[in-house]
Amino acid sequence: MANIALENLTYTYPEAQAPTLNQIQFTFKAHQFTLLTGPSGTGKSTLLKLMTGLLKLPANQGCIRYNDQPLTTIAATERAGKVALMFQNPNQQFAMDTVENELIFALENRQVPANEIQAKLTAALAFVGISELRERNLSHLSGGEKQKVALAVIVAMDSDVILLDEPFASVDPAARASLLKRLIQLRDQAGKTIILADHDLTDYETLVDQVVRITPDRHLTAVPHADWSTLFADFARTGQTDQRWRLPNQPAKPLFQLQKVALTQGRHRLLQPTDLTLLRHHNTLITGPNGSGKSTLFESLVRLTDYDGQISYLTDDIQTLRRKRYARQVALLFQDAETQFLNITVAEELAQSQKYAYGDYFTPARITAAMQQLNLTGHEDQVIYTLSEGQKKKLQILLMLIMQSPVLLMDEPLKGLDLKSVQALVTLLKSTIAETHQSLIIISHQLTGLAPLIDYHLRFEQQHLQYREAL
């Protein structure tokens, strides 16, 4: 239905010196599923936003055509019928309170007559398999569920072209597999054109029609079929990791002790009363499906959320510790990188962390080296809020490492990172904690590259939190 042609596409952010996209020539064929990859910060999000018209392409900077019709000449009210974008961040992508109301809102925008809305809404929810979420409050849904709703909205709007910007970055493997299945159905049965940007290439090899890469010099090239096997080789298929971890033997040094700790959100029980010990000077991985309560557990550990039972840090009940002192002992790396930032430029952030750091491992020389390692050199004066998602994540982790609090809780530290960055990061983490003896507790859906760092594994599932040897 719609070929998409990018002609001489060039884009420079007003605040940036160099163009983010440079003279791009490419045609995406209709009814195909294209996987778009490329290192962090090469402009995938920028390209997708340009293709939906969310970023305005300045005149004479090239042209984007849908079936020969330039995007700029398609009426704003028609655009959503042509092309829809699903975002990386599952939050702040809905205007309304409930799932049903959001779908109604979208259909009203498309000027669907009131008497047809009901049927379309029901069909879209059924197609994605989330009919039971219909009346749920959007803010009470887990990340994976929100992404499913976002897909349902796109299905209901019936857009020809579906663009997805790392839609699975905070989605568990099961939800991811189910979303992928729907996308394939949309291509095969409804003839949609799908372009999906992702770093984690797990599972795509047999599903996609073509793989397109943004090269470091900002060009688009299709990866020849012959090279696919090497490209996908690094990514084990989901569920096939045969990684094994030890179970902790008890009389080790406790870091946190949970006594009859139970977690609830609203009327929803997340964790049955549980006794558990987390160990000091070891790194623990926590896995579990979307919405099982992993982030809630972290928030309880740093006293941002209420819980039942008692949590002790080393020897003290954490409720008895002074907030300020405790915050210096146990720091949380938030799921959303921006939460961690307090200043304006990268350099200011680095300076602040250095100033208040708990230890002196991070000398200026070590920081420079780390910046280099993480490929952030040259961004020192950039305003943090203009960094790409992956760049933000790397900076966030570096900032918290510099702080050197004895315990670092990391919520999805690999979110939105390409494989190179993951490897660089894991190397940095390993070399740092070998010297600083910090304890890490890590929540992650994405395991590729993370394994060398992990000593123990906790599974958070179905209201239970237990040590497990395997996934």
């Binding site: 007003p14 605040e15 304006i344 305003v383 809020y385």
Partner: protein, 191 residues
């Protein structure tokens, strides 16, 4: 100065969000208010608690006016914040809305009298002054201030102005200076 610039969807969401955020921060100051009110009630000066903290509550309007530099942004900023507050645990109901309008319009007036040209100390001071005057005028009626003794009225007025100037003026300026430096507003607002 871009006079004709119309309200965009993201501007509207932005000032509503700022209003809500600030409201959520001020909630933490409620205990200050309660303690002061209770302590001053026996001597009949409990209004001072309100006067001292009112600048905080008027801050979203003054800040929206100063930050967005659109005609009506101060009024709208305060009004949207009040609308949300009315529905969300606002036990003061409709009077929240009326206060919102008076506070917002008071702040706006300062920018009007400086012809939307003085986004500097003059504009901020003018806005603090007009906010004080307008809200005070309203309290003469609503809170029965017109029946109070003159010395008390003067005291309240002076305290209120100081609060407006400190929170709505100085604090707003410090915040917007940081914003200017971060360039985050640049892409949408060119002045």
């Amino acid at each position: 100065m871009k006079w004709a610039k119309a309200w965009q969807l993201s501007d509207i969401i932005l000032i509503a969000l700022i209003g809500i955020f600030f409201g959520a921060i001020f909630m933490g100051t409620n205990y200050v208010y309660d303690v002061l009110t209770a302590a001053l009630a026996p001597v009949g000066l409990s209004g001072l608690a309100n006067e001292l903290l009112l600048g905080l509550w008027c801050m979203p309007g003054m800040l929206a006016g100063y930050m967005l530099r659109l005609k009506g942004s101060a009024t709208l900023g305060e009004l949207l914040a009040a609308t949300v507050e009315m529905f969300f645990g606002g036990q003061w109901g409709i009077s929240t809305l009326i206060s919102g309008v008076t506070q917002g319009f008071g702040a706006e007036l300062g920018y009007i009298v400086t012809r939307y040209k003085h986004y500097d100390w003059l504009g901020l001071t003018a806005s603090a002054l007009t906010t004080t005057i307008v809200t005070f005028g309203w309290d003469l009626a609503r809170n029965g201030y017109f029946k109070l003794q003159l010395w008390l009225l003067i005291l309240y007025f002076v305290v209120r102005f100081c609060s407006m100037f400190l929170f709505g003026g100085v604090l707003t300026r410090l915040i917007t200076d940081m914003l200017d430096r971060s360039h985050v507003l640049k892409s949408t607002h060119t002045n």
